[in-house]
Symmetry: D2
Subunit: 237 residues, 4 copies
C-alpha cells in the first residue's frame, strides 16, 4: 500500500511515507505497567489490545506513529488541520505558484433537508444545468462541472495576471477558489489517528473528507490489524 | 477596547469576548513555588514577571486566558488555525450561506525578490491595471481591485446557481475564493497568545496576518501591562 | 463554594480560584456555526448543549476555563498531572522546605482480588496491627496509621538532618514518602475538565483520586449546570 | 547505542526502543513548502536544516519521533512527565509490587546560596555523617548514603507489612520514598525532544535530570547529526 487516489480525478491522493511500531509494540508499551515484555503476539496479547481500546487506556497506542502525504482540496485540508494533535507541513502558496491543481467532479449531492449541515448520502447524484453563471453580460447554459471548471480557469487567469503585474503571491492567492488542492505531510500517533477516523468517517461527515479518513483506516488495518479490529469492535457498539 | 476593524474595508475585525486573570494572578501562580500569595502587585512582583518571561518559566502565564472573536479572510484564518494550542469555533459554510463577505483592497504589495515567501513591506503599494482577466472571450482592462471584486461576485453567482439547482452547500462552497471572510471564536492562554504574536507579528509575516496579531498585542498590553512589557523586553533582545 | 477538604485530615483540599464562561457562552460559541448570538438561555439552547455534548461537538466547551488550587498527596497529584491538557504550577521542594505536610488515614481498603490494580470499594475498611515495622532492631506492634505516622516523622527527621549538614534540598527530598502533600494550581478548559472527571471518577479509580474529581464535578455543576446535566446524561448511558 | 546507565548505581538507565525519520526526512518535510523532494542530503539541505532550526520553523522536525525506555528516580520522572508533549506508559505501583528499586548515591551536592532552587554544580561532593536519623529512641551516627539506604529498607518493610495485612497496593505505596525508581516508556517528536533537552540540560537543572537529558542529546546526535548541530549552534548563541 503506497498511495491511492481518493476521488475520480487522478489528483487527490493519500499515501504513507513512514511509520513506527506495530501491534506487538502496543502490547509491550502496555505491559510496562506489569513490568514484562513479549517477543511475539500471543492470544492474550490480542485480547489485551481489545481490552485497552475498549476501556480507553489510550496511552499504549501513542507510541506508534504514521506519517502520511496528502493532496486534497482546501475544504478537506481545512477540516483535517482542525485536528490539533497532528503535525503538518504544507505546500505554501506564499512560496510557489507552480503545480496549481483544482478538484472537479461530475457528481453533486443534494442538500439534506433534515440536517442543515449535511448532503444526502445516497445514489442521487446530480450534475445540473446552470444558466448565466460566469461573466457579466453573457447568458448561456452549462453543466455544473463545466461551470466550475471554467470558473477555476478564470481564477487562475486572474491570479496569473496579478503576478504578472508584480502583485505578491501572498495577496494574489486570495482569488483562488477552495477547490484548490493542498499538498501536505501529516503525522500523528495511532491513538489520535483512530480518533480522527472515528470523527471524520461517519454519517454526517462530508463525503470528500470520509474518503481520506477511510484510506487512513485501511493503512491502520494493514499496519496494526489487531488494533484496527479493536477499534471496529468498539465503534460499532 | 471592544472590537477593531483590521483593514480598510469595515469588515475584517477582532474583538475580545472574555478573559480570565491579570498580572497579579500570574505572580501568585508563580509564587505557589514559594508557597506565598500577594494581594497587590509590588515592585518585586513586576521584576518577577520579567524574570519569569525572560527565563522561559512559562507555566504561570498559562492560567490566564483570553477569548477573541475574529472575522478575517480565509487565508488569514488558515494561518491562525495552524496554531494548535488555541480553541476555535467557526461559522461553517456547510451550515449557512448567509452573510457571505469578501476581503478586498486597493493596496497591493510587490513580490519580494530576496524572500520567495514574502512581499515588500514598505510604502510601494500598487493597484495595477489588468487585461482580459474575467470571462472567456472578453478583452477589457480594469484595476486589480475591481477585477477581484468582479471575480468575487461571479464566484457568489456560481455558488448561488449551484444551491438553486439543489447542490449541497458543502460541495457548492468549493467555488468560493480565499478572500472569503471567516468568522470564528478563538481562545488561548496568555503564554500561547504571546507565542502566537511573536511568530505572526514579525518581518516576513503577511501584512493581513500581522494586523490580527498586533491587535491581540494591544489587548494583552491593556489586560496584562507588565507581562506585555516583559514580552517586549525579551523579544527585542 | 470556595474550598473543600477532600479527606478526613483537614489537609487535603481543592478550591476554585477563578473561572471564565457559563452555559450561555457555550451556546453562543456553538451558534457561531449558525452565525447567531443569544442574550439569555432558551429551552432550545439547553437542548443544544445536550446535543453538542452527546454528539462530541466538544469545541464550544473549550472556551470556558476553571482555575483550581489543589493540595493532595503526591500519589494523587501524579495521576492528575498525567493529564496533559491542563496547566500546572506547583510548590517546588527544590525551593522550599517549609510547610511539609503528609497524608494519613485510619481507613485502609483491602486489595481487590479480581482487579490487580484496584482496591475493594465497599465498607470493609481496616487499620491492621503491624509488627516490627520501623527501625532495625526493635520488635513492637502498632496500628497501620500510627506506623505510617512514625515513618513519616522519621522521613522528615532524616530530611532535616541532611539539610542541616548542607545537603541540597533537591537531593534531600528523595527520602520523603509519597504521602507528602503537593500544593499546586491547575487550570483547564471545560471540555478537558469533564474528560478528566469521566476518567478519574469511575469504579477502578483510586478513592483518594475520585474525591478530587468529584469535587471538580460539583464545581462544574454549580458554574455550568446545564453542561453538567448533559455530561451526566451522556456518561450514564 | 542501546541503553546507558545514568548514575553510578547500575539501576538508573535510558535506552532507545524505536525511532522514525532522519535528517533527510526533515529536509523533505520542509521542502513540501517548495513542492520538491531529495533522495540524499546535499550541502544546501544541511544549510536548510540550520536555517529552519534557527528561525523556529519547527514543524519539519515534528515528523520524526524517538521512543525511549527510562528508569529514573521518581523525582526525576516527575520532572520529565511535566512535559505535556510526550507520551508516557509507566510501571504502575497500583499493579505490581515486584522489582522495587531505589536510587542511592555517595555524592551529595551542597545547597546553592544564590539560587534557592539549585545545588552547587562543582566538585564539592559530600557524604556527611548524620546522627539520630532513623528510629525513635536510638542515637547513633552514620554516613548519609547509609542512612538513606536504611531508611529505604525500612520503607519497604513497612510497605510489605501493610500488604501482608491485606492493605491494597494503591494505599500502601504512599510510604515509599521518592528515590523509588520509575520505569516507563516515553515517546515524543524531535522538535519536542530538543525543547525538552534545552530546558532540562542547562545550569540550574538538577544533576540527576541533566543526565537523562544529556543521554537523549547523544541519541539525537547519532540519529539526526545535522539537526543536532543546528540545535547546538542555536542554543549556544
Amino acid at each position: 500500500m503506497d498511495k491511492v487516489f481518493l476521488y475520480n480525478d487522478n489528483i487527490g491522493f493519500c499515501g504513507i511515507l513512514d511509520h513506527m511500531g506495530d501491534d506487538l509494540a502496543i502490547v509491550n508499551s502496555a505491559r510496562v505497567s506489569f513490568n514484562t515484555t513479549h517477543e511475539a503476539l500471543t492470544d492474550r496479547d490480542i485480547k489485551l489490545i481489545k481490552y485497552l481500546y475498549a476501556n480507553k487506556h489510550t496511552s499504549p497506542f501513542e507510541h506508534c506513529t504514521i506519517k502520511f502525504e496528502c493532496n486534497v482540496p482546501l475544504f478537506v485540508a481545512r477540516q483535517h488541520m482542525r485536528h490539533r494533535t497532528w503535525s503538518y507541513n504544507e505546500v505554501s502558496r506564499r512560496y510557489t505558484e507552480v503545480d496549481l491543481e483544482f478538484y472537479t467532479t461530475k457528481e453533486f449531492r443534494p442538500q439534506a433537508k433534515s440536517n442543515r449541515q449535511a448532503s444526502v448520502h445516497d445514489d442521487i447524484l446530480i450534475n445540473p444545468v446552470l444558466t448565466t453563471v460566469v461573466g457579466d453580460t453573457q447568458d448561456w447554459t452549462t453543466r455544473a462541472d463545466e461551470a466550475i471548471l471554467l470558473h477555476t480557469q478564470n481564477s487562475v487567469k486572474l491570479y496569473e495576471s496579478l503576478l504578472d503585474k508584480g502583485v505578491c503571491r501572498e495577496q494574489a492567492r486570495m482569488v483562488l477558489p477552495q477547490n484548490m488542492y493542498c499538498r501536505y505531510i501529516a503525522t500523528a500517533n495511532l491513538h489520535n489517528i483512530l480518533k480522527f477516523i472515528s470523527l471524520r468517517d461517519k454519517p454526517g461527515a462530508q463525503w470528500e473528507m470520509r474518503k481520506l479518513a477511510q484510506y487512513m483506516g485501511e493503512v491502520v488495518s494493514e499496519l496494526f490489524p489487531h488494533t484496527w479490529e479493536a477499534y471496529t469492535l468498539t465503534t460499532t457498539i
